[in-house]
Amino acid sequence: MPDKMLELDDITMQFGGVVAVNNLSMFIDEGEIVALIGPNGAGKTTAFNCVTGVYKPTNGQVKYQGQVIVSNHPAGKMKALYAGENRDKYPQVVDPTPDKITRMGIGRTFQNIRLFKTQTVFENVLIATHLHRTSNPLSAAFRINWREERRMRELSLEMLDFVGLAAMKDELATSLPYGKQRRLEIARALATKPKLLLLDEPAAGMNPQETADLGRFIVEIKERFGLTIFLIEHHMDLVMDISERIYVIDFGKLIAHGEPHEIQDNPDVITAYLGVEDI
């Protein structure tokens, strides 16, 4: 049995009285591609942000390779407002900043592309190699770290080559067409050398042809870098095609979980996506 890469236990994220994610528990095994799907506003990205440290969940914990990386319980004014369950189960508070999570080996991309706008394609990737530096500001300024600098540049070029953007490396990142900007975001995330890659709607705004290409590409990076992939997606073709297991949430709650063919026929899922049939 493979090791668990990521585990979410009772993750609840409440903004005041609004419960965005409600008691979400799930796991991802090493080497899997797992998708999280659900209608608009179901809380998918919020769940992601709880894992990556952007939000501090109201309750619950996240384990990465068996180690607790995020943990919280309702405190302060949330004590009275908290609507979820298991409120005293996670007394420990672990609240790392997103950069720490990335350093542990969890890379991510964003739903609304967030490239460094004034930087070139190459520099965008190069920035992502900064976290593995061994130099301090002085040694870096005086280029005592030139070997490391060269390695950073080589790694970045390699990543760009891999995603097929090496020819455009000196262009401004924002001047790339949309689909290539998405690829650049993936290249940038790969340059942080992750073990687990979180993709937030990688196929948003793509046509069926591009989506199919992207599906092949995701499988390819998984194989090549030995990654585990956790993705949020709306394109059902893509999800059904590449993911090994699927979690479905609606209004923050987990409504279904299983292999693609099980999800396809699940009445709850159909109801969530298409609405209830009027009789």
């Binding site: 900043t97 990335t102 964003f110 460094f116």
Partner: protein
Amino acid sequence: MKTKKQGLIIGFILLALLFVGLYILENTLSSSTMLLTILKKGVIYALIAVSMNLLNGFTGLFSLGQAGFMLIGAYTYAILTIPVGMRSMIYQYYDGGIVQFAMPALVGILCAGLLAAFFAFLVGLPVLRLKSDYLAIATLGFAEIIRAIIQYEGLGPLTNGSNLLRRFPTFQSVLYPFAAAAICIGVIVLLINSTYGRAFKAIRDDEVAAEAMGINLFFHKQLSFVMSSFFAGIGGALLAMYQGSIQAATFKSTMTYEILLIVVIGGMGSVTGSVIASFLFVASSEWWLRFLDNEMFIGSFHMPLLRSGFRMVVFSVIIMAVVLFYRRGIMGDKEFSPTRIRNRLLNRKAGRNA
């Protein structure tokens, strides 16, 4: 890579030529010429503007504390370097003050930078958690507090209260501030081009994405803040040397705005832009527009409007025009370099041939 090396060599040659030129200029002109004064003040402002640009232009932190750090630098330098024999005269109300030793000028300058950096570190701990306007207000407040503290009577034995500090070592040659500024700006440029500089720019462009790339926001903001203040402190010490005497009351927020103006006009995120804008700013505010302050007659015609203070009106109009026509500053976020100019000329030629 090859063009980069070429550019570096050309840069060094130009720098050497600059120093030779300055040396010749200094030995041919009388020392009281306005040009030399402008060059001295201009290069000191250039250093301070570049240090502010590191923070505001490259890291995207809108800080207005520059005058405060310059003040710390200037006072540290003055207090540490006034010759012991002069102290009883300068600290006449405070029995000669409590500092009874004097350091060499260079050590004093270095201490000025270090103390400014230390204060920046302390101030940065709470303040750098703020963003944009709030950060600006907090740093501005800090600068005012520092000025008030230094003028405080109780600290008189150390700072001489609100009285002048003078008779500390100054420089005569224009080469001195140029060398100091060249070294400091060189270090800033090296830092900006290093992997840490890339992290600064990433934070400026998108904090959320930068953090997701594993960049520790607080550490890098603090680093940029401390480095910027270190060089502002050195700039303050050089300014003290240039003026020959200092008084806390002159380091007002107006001074920060002057520097900010230079940074904006030169271009946020352009080192050469800040340097060029500094010289233009100092020259036009102190020299080129001076004639506007005096009454003038052409023949028997009395020129209207020209009177004391009119210079600032014209100056403001010029600045408005510059900002209107160069929205992103003279240089934008580009750098001025010989290779760039050559490329541009070649491109233009190619365009014409096509």
